[in-house]
């Protein structure tokens, strides 16, 4: 692969590869220089939209219900008006598979779009770096401050930075917990210092994770912890959009006067200003070729285009391209890999939509009485006791009628009236089934409970159970 040929060391900038690859070198802190341009603007908009969604969504309500609430204490997920129960776990699994397939699909077409613009690690790191710049100043000031000996000034600056990091992380932790337990109640509890021990714990836990990952670990999360960064090559091919330095055009690199005709002087377009390295949030040199540490944030494109403009050279020395384009071959967007991902994605999405729209919003669980297998009544009948769990998964209350079949002449007690169950609630219904022992052919007979909503025959479900009795006397 011609993109991966090593180049001569860069002047005045540490060799990022050596830091990453020479295994006994201490990690050097990365101080990304602030960058402006088209892609930086896109990333900032993505950050604003995604963080807006994250911090805003739990506060939105719909029909008196939090719009998005994974209500763990109540074992119900409310997702945009839809209520999902543990029985519907398959839908959540399918949703996760859809998310993974979308990631594959977009990666195959657009490369690491996810990493550069949408990954929580990128988004929160971007905010933390913004806080860095607001308080400590730009890259040279940050480096100077870190090198300086401890003083009151340094203590105040560092202290206020960490205070803001911590407050922001704590609010992030609070919002995160607000997705799992109703956020209005959580807010009231917080304001009255009545948070439960586990709620407090998880707010702090997620807050600490934000503080650690976005504040301290940063690019190390992408390099050491992210599985996606490692297996992305499985989704890449020669037509995938990547960020690449144009070696043909750039080399041999070197400093020059602006007035110099560099082509006659035997120089390429790269002036070796190292700005592309300085803006890189993972501290790599894009001119060394495609590297798994590259999160495709396109900061180097913005930086380089700016320099090219100043020098009066055409933009795009570092650019979004494909390996085929770099080697002068045509790039194909539609290829078998894309078709397969698209087919699977459409298929599973269709299955989920069909399943959710045709789902019967009613579930019936039968639990046998644990204390006695069966009991004989005074008039010689055999009786089994069951507890039925009726789960109304619909958005409105219903009354349900219960019946049982399976043994000739069986009688059902405890469900003579129809059973009212409110929307999203679980009703527990103890029932007794009584049978003439002469009707029993075996010690254990299969019976079927049928539950049907009054006035809505589509909402109907069945549950199998066993009826136990003495071995047939007939």
């Amino acid at each position: 692969m011609n993109l991966e040929v090593a180049t001569k060391p860069t002047r005045s900038v540490r060799q990022p590869d050596q830091v990453q690859q020479s295994l006994y070198a201490k990690r050097e802190k990365v101080y990304p220089r602030e960058v402006h341009g088209l892609f930086a603007a896109m990333r900032v908009s993505a950050v604003l939209v995604l963080l807006g969604l994250f911090y805003g969504l739990p506060w939105l309500r719909w029909n008196g219900q939090q719009l998005l609430l994974f209500d763990l204490p109540a074992r119900q997920f409310h997702i945009f008006g839809l209520t999902i129960f543990p029985q519907d776990f398959v839908y959540l699994t399918l949703l996760l598979i859809m998310a993974a397939l979308s990631l594959f699909f977009f990666t195959a077409i657009g490369g690491r779009l996810w990493c550069g613009y949408a990954c929580p690690q990128t988004v929160w790191t971007e905010v933390f770096m913004w806080i860095d710049r607001k308080i400590e100043g730009d890259r040279p000031k940050q480096m100077k401050l870190d090198k300086a000996p401890w003083s009151t000034h340094k203590f105040v600056v560092k202290g206020s930075k960490h205070l803001i990091w911590i407050l922001f992380s704590a609010f992030t932790g609070f919002t995160f917990v607000g997705y799992f337990t109703p956020i209005l109640e959580l807010g009231q509890k917080l304001l009255t210092f009545n948070l439960g021990p586990w709620e407090t714990f998880w707010v702090l836990f997620y807050g600490l994770a934000t503080y650690g990952n976005a504040g301290w670990l940063r690019e190390q999360v992408c390099v050491y912890m992210c599985p996606y960064a490692r297996f992305q090559s499985a989704m890449f091919d020669r037509d995938t959009l990547i960020i690449s330095y144009d070696r043909e055009r750039g080399e041999p690199r070197g400093a020059r006067k602006r007035t110099l005709d560099h082509h006659t002087a035997g120089l390429g377009d790269c002036i070796d200003c190292t700005l592309c390295v300085q803006v890189c949030p993972t501290g790599i040199d894009i001119r060394n070729g495609l590297q798994f540490q590259c999160i495709a944030c396109a900061a180097c494109i913005d930086a380089c285009d700016h320099v090219m403009e100043k020098m009066g050279y055409p933009a795009g020395l570092v650019r979004y391209t494909t390996q085929n384009a770099v080697s002068g071959k045509p790039t194909r967007v539609f290829r078998p890999r894309i078709a397969v991902y698209a087919f699977l994605l459409v298929g599973i999405t269709g299955a989920v939509v069909f399943g959710l729209t045709h789902r019967v919003p009613l579930d019936l669980d039968v639990i046998r009485d644990r204390n006695a297998l069966y009991r004989e009544t005074t008039d010689g009948m055999v009786e089994n006791v069951y507890t039925l769990k009726v789960i109304n998964m619909d958005g409105q209350p219903h009354r349900y009628r219960l019946s049982v079949t399976g043994i000739l002449g069986m009688e059902l007690f405890g469900a003579e009236q129809s059973v009212p169950v409110n929307a999203g609630e679980v009703a527990s219904l103890p029932v007794r089934v009584r049978v003439d022992p002469f009707a029993l052919e075996r010690g254990s007979t299969a019976i079927t409970f049928t539950l049907e909503a009054e006035g809505a025959p589509r909402i109907k479900t069945v549950a199998e159970a066993r009826f136990l009795g003495p071995v047939s006397r007939g």
Binding site: A6, L23, N288
Partner: protein, 164 residues
């Protein structure tokens, strides 16, 4: 948790690093080769006579290398074979992800209320049961990751030979 912490200390302790030095173990610092995708580029090439005999790419796989052949720079003391943050991440992070998945699957099948119902009043609220369950799963999976990291130590360290 105590066992896992103790084990982590054993694996991550400087003692391990001393072993590495004493037994002539060297991490796979090798010159970049053209056919080795993902090879560290930009590294100073090392003059090794039988370079061609070495496998084309062993990135990520720990291999013993004859110390005598290394330049003085490469014989410098090493703090560890992998960055410490990578080893800690390799223990805590995959186990964390898997314990989230395990907690999700387990508690979508079993409601803690029902698990405890035969004992009368549940001793834990659902949130507590989920949290405790999550940490038990994490302990289990972290223990497994810890053993994986432990067994990844090269045989040369387990069965020491004379320094070359």
């Amino acid at each position: 948790m105590i066992i896992v912490s103790w084990g982590s200390l054993q694996i991550l302790s400087p003692r391990c690093a001393r072993d590495v030095r004493a037994f002539g173990y060297d991490p796979p610092v090798r010159p970049p080769t053209a056919d080795c995708a993902g090879a560290p580029s930009g590294l100073k090439a090392r003059a090794v006579d039988d370079q061609a005999k070495q496998p084309a790419c062993n990135s990520g796989i720990l291999m013993p290398i004859n110390v005598a052949r290394l330049s003085p720079v490469e014989r410098q003391p090493q703090s560890s074979s992998l960055p410490r943050v990578q080893r800690i991440a390799a223990i805590l992070w995959p186990s964390f992800l898997l314990s989230i998945a395990a907690t999700g699957v387990f508690f979508s099948v079993f409601d803690p209320y029902e698990l405890f119902s035969c004992q009368g009043e549940p001793p834990l609220s659902r949130i507590s049961a989920y949290s405790v369950g999550f940490f038990l799963f994490w302990l289990l999976t972290a223990g497994s990751s810890l053993l994986t990291v432990y067994f990844l130590r090269p045989c040369e360290l387990v069965n020491p030979q004379q320094e070359l």
